[in-house]
């Protein structure tokens, strides 16, 4: 009885992932694609949590935390790239 509702939730989350993927493909600017990719990573976390309920295991939660941290790091790096043009600034000749 529980697994029916979990499968329904998995189908709804998969539909939302398809919608976000359409925005990644046809987004007009770069920022649209970055926002949609961030939402895709977060939705992937929800998908992995639902699969861990469906398959009744506890070993998928490490992957869930790892995906969250990697999605935030990628989005922050891309935001800094859009802002300044480079991600890690290594000018050694700056005089402070």
């Amino acid at each position: 009885m529980t697994s029916i509702f979990v499968i329904i939730a998995i189908i709804i989350v998969a539909l939302s992932m398809i919608g976000i993927l359409i925005r990644v493909i046809l987004g007009p600017t770069l920022a649209d694609r970055v926002i949609a990719l961030d939402a895709l990573g977060i939705t992937l976390m929800a998908m992995i949590a639902l699969f861990s309920v469906l398959t009744n295991t506890k070993y998928l939660f490490v992957i869930l935390l790892l995906i969250g941290i990697l999605a935030f790091l990628g989005t922050a790096a891309f935001a800094k790239f859009m802002d300044k043009g480079e991600i890690i600034e290594n000018d050694r000749n700056d005089t402070y």
Binding site: I12, R23, A31, A39, I42, A46, G68, A71, A76
Partner: protein, 113 residues
């Protein structure tokens, strides 16, 4: 008895969170410009995923009596970094030169550079 109540609450939270995620995807698809899409992604998607993860946490408490701290850490991490990522990307998009849509009434950042 208490296990049935906990599992029922967790299943309800999972389904509501999945619908919030679907509404976030609809907002990302249908809203007109970058800033309103960041609005939809930063709030609705974060709340949906937090509801789903809280449902999974309560499910494993009710089923095995197993409290998973990694899942709690994931919920807190999503709560901190979800709106922050939307803020970073929309700020960079404004300074990169992406204009808001024509229906925008007021632009407070017009002469901030």
């Amino acid at each position: 008895m208490i296990e049935t109540i906990l599992i029922s609450i967790s299943v309800i939270m999972m389904v509501i969170g999945a619908f919030f995620s679907l509404f976030a995807a609809l907002g990302i698809l249908r809203l007109p410009d970058v800033f309103s899409r960041a609005h939809a992604s930063g709030k609705a998607s974060t709340l949906g995923v937090m509801l789903i993860l809280t449902g999974v946490l309560i499910y494993f408490i009710g089923k095995d009596g197993h409290f998973n701290v990694q899942l709690l850490l994931g919920i807190i991490f999503i709560f901190i970094t979800g709106p922050l990522a939307g803020h970073l990307v929309s700020r960079s998009a404004y300074y990169m030169g992406v204009r808001p849509s024509e229906r925008t009434v007021r632009d407070d950042l017009k002469d901030a550079k």
